[in-house]
Each structure stands twice: as C-alpha cells, then as structure tokens.
C-alpha cells in the first residue's frame, strides 16, 4: 500500500489531538470544580497546566506543517490536515477559557461565592459532553453526529441566559455583590464560548467529510 508512512503520521496526529481534547476536558472540569469549592490550589494547578495544552498545540501544529511541506496532501488527506489544524486551535482556546475560569477563583481573594453554583457546573458538564462527542464524531468521520452536536449549543446558551438573569437579580437586590456576581457571569461566559468552539469543531468535521464549508448553528452571543 502506497503512502503508508503518511497514514501512520495521520494516525499519530489524530491520537495527539484526542489526547489534547482529554487535557482540555480535564482543565474545564478542574476549573469549575475549583470555582465551586473555592479551591485556590486546584485553580493554580489548572492555570499552570494550561502551559501543557499550549505546548501540545504547538507540537501538533508543527507536525501538521511538516506533513504539508513534505507530503503535499490533496483531497481527503488535505482536508484531514486542515481539520486537525483548526481543531487544535479551538482546543487551545478552550484551554484558555478554562484557565480564565480558574483565574476567577483567585480573583475572589478568599471571599465566598455570591451563591452556591448549580447551573455553572451543569453548563460545564454539557459543554464537556459536547466536546467529547465532537471528538468522537471526528474520529468516526460522522458529519451527521457533528450537526446534532452543533444544535445542542442552544441548550448551553439557554443555561447561560438563566445564569445571567439570576446573577443580575442578585446584583440588583444587593449591590455589594456586583463584583463577585460579575466574576460568575465571566465564568459562565467562558463556558458559553467553549460550547461555541465545539460548534467550530463540528463545522470542520462537516467540511472534512463533505468538502463543504458551512456555518451550522449561529450563536446569539
């Protein structure tokens, strides 16, 4: 079989991408848990570990560039490489969003949360689930699955809306909470952005399978 080396390289790249996805899922989970439990150490670890995600991104990008330069891929091979390159960029930014949530823990400077968190962990759970399944859709080259996941972004947007309104009410009722409530809105906003980036990944999967670029679900935020 011709070009076995190229296929091997692509397989390794795919595994690297999945492992980067795992790192990001863990980072999101850890950052939200740290926020929920006001765990400064957990937050610091998430912030430090973001460097590992960044490193992984550069590593994958470098491998892609090497394959572009040496193999001059076309057709599906080309679309696969482009997709990997795009997905890793989105994953890296998701890592930054997780880091952003962890920083909010530190910004609280020991003060308690304005309310116990329920919707933010739900939102994180949904976003992580979407991310995991989007990577599964990538491995399976399943554009239908990708489209379904894209549409689930609306659920995340709804939770965000709910969080926003509830925190607004708290701020109106007690203006002393404005700073801390705003921090939580930022945290929720980071999660909302993560889900948006999952839709980017899904759009790339559709491109990979069909060769067509299309915007599948336009976020309202």
């Amino acid at each position: 079989m011709a070009r076995e080396a190229f296929r091997e390289n692509m397989k390794t790249l795919e595994q690297d991408l999945i492992s980067a996805g795992d790192m990001v899922c863990k980072a999101i989970n850890r950052s939200v848990t740290a926020l929920q439990e006001s765990d400064v150490e957990g937050a610091k670890k998430t912030i430090a570990d973001d460097q590992l995600i960044n490193k992984k991104r550069w590593n994958i990008e470098e491998k892609c560039i090497r394959l572009f330069a040496t193999q001059q891929p076309v057709a599906t091979d080309l679309r696969e490489l482009i997709t990997v390159l795009n997905i890793i960029t989105d994953l890296e930014r998701m890592g930054d969003h997780a880091e952003g949530i962890a920083k909010i823990v530190l910004m609280h400077e020991g003060q308690p949360l304005v309310k116990p968190l329920i919707n933010i962990p739900n939102m994180a759970e949904k976003a992580i689930d979407m991310l995991k399944r989007s990577l599964e859709a990538f491995v399976k080259r399943d554009d239908k699955m990708a489209r379904v996941i894209c549409n689930e972004d609306d659920e995340v947007d709804l939770i965000y809306e709910k969080i926003y309104r509830s925190l607004l009410s708290i701020m109106i009722a007690d203006p002393k909470t404005i700073t801390r409530a705003t921090y939580l809105i930022w945290a929720a906003h980071n999660l909302e952005r993560i889900a948006d980036r999952v839709t980017n990944i899904c759009e790339r999967i559709v491109y990979l399978v069909t060769g067509k670029m299309e915007e599948i679900n336009v976020s309202n935020y």
Partner: protein, 255 residues
C-alpha cells in the same frame, strides 16, 4: 447554464486502438479556451496518446485506428479533407525532453516560419524577437542569437522549443510532460510561462507531477486505463474530487 467559458476543442466519444489493443475508450471532454487543462493519470493510461491524437501525431503509428471525433473550430480534425500540416501549425506540441534543432537559436524559430512561406528577413527577425520575449528568453539570448541552441541550459532549451511553437501562431499548445527533464528552477520558469501563455493560447498539458497540475491548471481530467474517470475544475479535483478512484490516485493511495 452560461459560465462565460468558451470551449476550444470538443472531444466526442473518442476511441483509439493500436491493432487489437484498445488505448482510449469513448473519451468525451470539452477543452476550455485560453485556459490550462491538465491531463493526469498513471503510466500507460493513455494520456499522452490522447494528447497526440489532438494534432494527429498518432497517424504515424502503424495500425492506429480512431473512432469518434475531435472538433477544433467546429471541424472534425480526422475529416478526410483536413490539411494535417496546417492542423499541426494551429495545434503545436512541446515534448518531454527539449528537442531543439541542431541550429542556432535564431534558426530554431525561423525554420518554422520559412517552411510556412515567410521569407522576408525583417519579418522573421520580428517574430523571433516576439516569440523569445513571450517565452521570457529574449534577455537571456538576444546577444547570442546566432550561437547553437545546444549551448542553452535544459530549461532554456525547453523554453526555446515553446518559442518555436509560438512563432507559427498556433491556437493551442500541447505539452507532453514539458518539465520532467528540468530542474525545479527551470520547472517554475516553464510553469510561469504556461500561465502567461494562457492569456493568448489554450494550453493542454500531460503531467505525472500532481503538484504541477494543481499549481498551473484551471481544469483537470483524470484518465485511468483508457477511460476518463473525472474532468472538472482543478481546485475541486484536488480538494474534493467526486470519484474515489481520482482521490486515490491524486493522494498516492493506489494499492
């Protein structure tokens, strides 16, 4: 649908055989005017044979038999009353290896003009200059026009062969692996030249070099075992081909 593209050559259900051996099977392609069309495919798929059929070079092959039509300016080039010499003037050919005549640079170009009845020296010199300029070879050769063409580098010789083809004002230039004997720098020069040529001429190129087809051509046809598998816009062929066979060939995944 009017795409604004005019077709220059219509190949209609064209078949070629050498004795019992079928080389091309019912090929139908419309070659667009003033564009570069690349014909790709594995060795022995019939791509060079198809190219040679377009100016009837296959007439010289014993037992060659053709069916179907190749229409050029609305006329079947295989019609009995076609003047083959005139046809080959209109549809010029550049070969794999540069094959200048054992003459001076000047005479390589002047030769075709003289046998086409142009005798006036001033006119010949003008055409030599324009042809060499069109091929980006004028500055490199203007001070040594009367030295042997063999003193030029391989890449320069190939561009001289293209200039020679241009001198007799063809409509179409057929190129059979024109860069396969050239180094990368000369290859890029010839490719640049092809792109420039399509302002005036229709170019059809046969190449084994996928990247070359992708770089220079507007349309690509993929031939496999004498059949046309796919023909279409080069951008599409190289990003999302319709046929799995095309995909496997251009990606190098033939098993």
């Amino acid at each position: 649908m009017n795409t604004g593209i005019t077709d220059k050559i219509f190949i209609k259900e064209f078949c070629l055989s050498y004795g019992e051996k079928q080389i091309l099977e019912s090929i139908s392609i419309n070659i667009p005017q003033t564009m570069i069309t690349a014909i790709i495919g594995p060795s022995g798929c019939g791509k060079s044979s198809l190219l040679r059929c377009m100016n009837r070079l296959n007439d010289l092959v014993p037992k060659a038999k053709v069916e179907g039509q190749i229409l050029f300016n609305g006329k079947n080039i295989y019609a009995p009353d076609v003047d083959v010499v005139e046809l080959r003037r209109k549809i010029g050919m550049v070969f794999q290896k540069p094959n200048p005549f054992p003459k001076t640079i000047y005479d390589n170009i002047a030769y075709g003009l003289r046998i086409n009845g142009i005798k006036e020296k001033k006119r010949i010199s003008e055409i030599v200059e324009v042809s060499l300029k069109d091929c980006g070879l004028w500055n490199e050769t203007k001070d040594r026009l009367h030295t042997s063409a063999f003193e030029l580098s391989g890449g320069q010789q190939q561009r001289l062969c293209i200039a020679r083809a241009l001198a007799v004002t063809p409509d179409i230039i057929l190129m059979d692996e024109p860069c396969s004997a050239l180094d990368p720098a000369s290859t890029f020069k010839v490719e640049e030249l092809m792109v420039k040529l399509k302002e005036k001429y229709t170019v059809i190129i046969v190449t084994h070099n996928m990247q070359q087809a992708a770089r220079v051509s507007d349309y690509t046809g993929f031939l496999y075992m004498g059949k046309l598998v796919e023909f279409g816009n080069t951008d599409i062929i190289f990003t999302r081909p319709r046929e799995k066979l095309t995909e496997n060939y251009i990606s190098g995944h033939f098993g």
